[in-house]
């Protein structure tokens, strides 16, 4: 039997490492270490309920397992064959315990291509990767196909860049292969920077060899012998696993000179990023790798023509690479049969925000937002009402109820005023204020702007200030028009993708939540209660018994009134901390 324990960062943070060592110790203690193997795997995606433990072969899926549960799992399940009911996943609707992941709503609608090995193999064991057809695609390319044939296959598959832009991967490879130069480079963009997005990290942590293999295939196609992974230093576990994987691949001769008995040579090195959002943009990324400031430059020239140290450079995202070996093994036609007309295959999304099943999912292109949020995501937390979903990170936009049934693909999302982005999906409920959300993203872009071009450096700052004015109750109708105009100017004039897309959260919230903006400026009201400056704490005379609890707890002495008499809050002194509301036992304090 195999006991698989999730070793992704999410579960790591919930003590999965200590759980792993407990399980191993108990198995050894019982003398079962020959029959039972305890294996650390990559992310299962169901991070909401981590740490995850899966028992094979009966496919039992345990959630939220603590180190203290290890003994019970071994003694009850492994030795006596009785499943530990309290650790099984509970269906939120009918409260039934579900033993098998196949029957969980979370996994039912998913197709796993890029995540095929995550949560299945031990990422630190190259043999397990090989046993799942690993490096066969590379062998097939090197021995049976010419670079041009591989590129044709990639083009036929319809794979588009998963980092957000959605450019055809095959075409990119073809352009780089046609650039004439003595040295060329393959670069893997692992600078995942969208708030709330973690799919690239999970792939590198759970299946690093798939990226290594794909980079080698790309190297073969474009004529490069050096691969570079640009990875953020904030991903220590991913870096660790990648280093282990590279060392193993070298030992097996799958990296280095004369790979698989051919004269093809390829090796991979790591380059660390310091975590700047703009470095996800390929020209800025290349400058950062060269040791310069992480600033973008005007394209063209595209990196495919002149990139790393002015040599032709092919930059692809982690998830894009993870799809490549499967396409070669199973064929372009198979891959193209999944998805929609113009967006093929699957997409990994990181679900976050006010949703029940926070985690990592992979669905075919064309799945609707409703399926993702309600069927896989398990709906909105605490039974609240869905308000919006933010896709594409700070470059994307907010989609609302009316977009729920439109299929997700590159072109549909752009038509709806958002974008695919790298795949972060943040769900918001009725308690979120859309003006504050726009402000949050602008705060992020202001912080992350490299400062090279004026529209982004100054324009975004001004956008932020106007939004801040709105949330403080000082906004006017003209401010909304100003937001719109300025946004358009920034979009038209900024130098790189960061600046050109940074006004998107503002524009899409104005478009979809016009009423809320108007409320903020004309009625000076925030319906969700998020904008503190627009709130008033008031004491209802009828309910107030004069217990003085509120007055005693007010940090600024804004509440006055006699004992056993009605109390009053002085609005000019009140700092809206909410202490009175919390302390009142008679429901006399309310928010207006």
């Amino acid at each position: 039997m195999h006991i698989l324990v999730c070793g992704g960062t999410g579960c790591h943070a919930s003590e999965s490492e200590s759980l792993l060592s407990h399980l191993k110790a108990i198995v050894a203690d019982k003398g079962l270490d020959k029959e039972i193997q305890v294996i650390a795997t990559g992310c299962f995606g169901f991070c909401e309920k981590g740490p995850i433990v899966k028992i094979m072969p009966d496919n039992t899926f345990y959630t939220q397992v603590t180190p203290a549960d290890a003994r019970e799992i071994i003694e009850e399940h492994i030795i006596k064959g009785r499943k530990v009911n309290r650790l099984l996943y509970q269906d939120p609707e009918n409260k039934e315990h579900i033993a098998d992941s196949k029957h969980m709503g979370f996994y039912k609608k998913q197709i796993r291509i890029a995540l095929r090995n995550c949560g299945f193999i031990d990422p630190e064991n190259i043999d397990e990767y090989i046993s799942r057809d690993g490096y066969e695609a590379l062998a097939k390319c090197l021995t049976e196909m010419t670079p041009q044939q591989v590129i044709e296959e990639m083009k036929k598959s319809g794979l588009r860049g998963r980092g957000g832009g959605g450019f055809s991967t095959g075409l990119k490879w073809e352009i780089t292969s046609k650039s004439v130069s003595d040295v060329k480079y393959v670069v893997c963009n692992a600078d995942e920077g969208d708030p709330g997005a973690f799919m690239d990290r999970s792939i590198l942590e759970g299946d690093p060899h798939s990226v290594i293999e794909a980079m080698a295939i790309c190297g073969y196609c474009i004529g490069a012998s050096i691969g570079l992974v640009y990875i953020r230093a904030e991903y220590p576990l991913a870096i660790d696993r990648l280093k282990t994987a590279i060392a193993q691949a070298r030992e097996y001769g799958l990296l280095g000179n004369g790979i698989l008995g051919t004269d093809f040579a390829f090796d991979i090195e790591l380059r660390y990023g310091a975590g700047a959002f703009v470095c996800g943009e390929e020209t800025a990324l290349i400058h950062s790798m060269e040791g310069l400031r992480g600033e973008p430059t005007v394209k063209p020239p595209f990196p495919s023509v002149s990139g790393y140290f002015e040599k032709p450079t092919n930059v692809n995202n982690v998830e894009t690479f993870a799809n490549v070996p499967v396409i070669i093994n199973k064929g372009a036609a198979w891959f193209a049969s999944i998805g929609t007309e113009k967006s093929k295959g699957t997409k990994v999304f990181a679900l976050a925000g006010k949703i029940n099943n926070v985690g990592l999912i992979e669905v075919p292109m064309g799945t609707t937002l409703r399926e993702v949020i309600y069927e896989i995501g398990g709906g909105i937390k605490d039974g609240k009402k869905f308000k919006a979903v933010q896709t594409g990170g700070p470059s994307g936009g907010c989609l609302t109820e009316k977009h729920l049934d439109s299929p997700i693909d590159y072109d549909n999302l752009i038509a709806a005023g958002s974008m695919m982005g790298s795949g972060g999906m943040i769900v918001m409920d009725e308690d979120d204020c859309m003006v504050s959300i726009a402000k949050f993203y602008l705060d992020f872009t202001v912080e992350e702007s490299c400062g090279k071009c004026a529209p982004c450096r100054i324009g975004n700052k001004r956008l932020y200030e106007i939004l801040d004015k709105l949330t403080k109750g000082n906004g006017t109708r003209e401010d909304i028009d100003r937001l719109r105009n300025l946004s358009q100017v920034i979009k038209d004039t900024a130098l790189c993708g960061l600046g050109q897309t940074s006004p998107n959260p503002v524009l899409s919230t104005i478009e979809n939540f016009w009423d809320e903006y108007i409320e903020h400026v004309t009625d000076k009201k925030c319906r969700s209660g998020q904008c503190k400056a627009l709130l008033q704490y008031v004491i209802e005379a009828e309910n107030c018994v004069g217990c003085t609890a509120c007055a005693r707890n007010c940090p600024v002495n804004a509440i006055s009134g006699e004992r056993k008499g009605v109390h009053v809050i002085d609005q000019t002194t009140c700092i809206k901390c909410g202490a009175c509301l919390e302390k009142c036992k008679f429901n006399a304090v309310f928010i207006k």
Partner: protein, 132 residues
Amino acid sequence: MGQVKSLADLRKIKEELQGRMSLRENSNNPESLVQVKVAMATCGIASGAKQVMDFFIEEFEKRNIQAVVTQTGCMGYCFAEPTVEITLPGHSPVVYGYVDTKKADDIIEKYIKNGELVDGIIPVNYETIEKK
């Protein structure tokens, strides 16, 4: 392990790990495979269920039969231990009683390979909750 020099070398590694990985691969689709559940409660183990289970696991590998062998708790037929429940794909489960390695051999050869019933079936006289 030395260097991997060809596709054949890769396939060799893959084959070597087949046994280890097929356990995991198969458990993703248990209903398409032969499922063998061995009752491994105190009564079963005392009557030799452990040897029977080992026998099934080893023989399936030797005879190249794709099957999932799992243990389960007491089925309630303590008089007939060791008991084994076999589910062929698309068939209802069948429970055999008094299974020793010789009987197990019979079950593999006749029932699992050819679908011929073997003596010693315990009639099922209960309904599970899911069926109701």
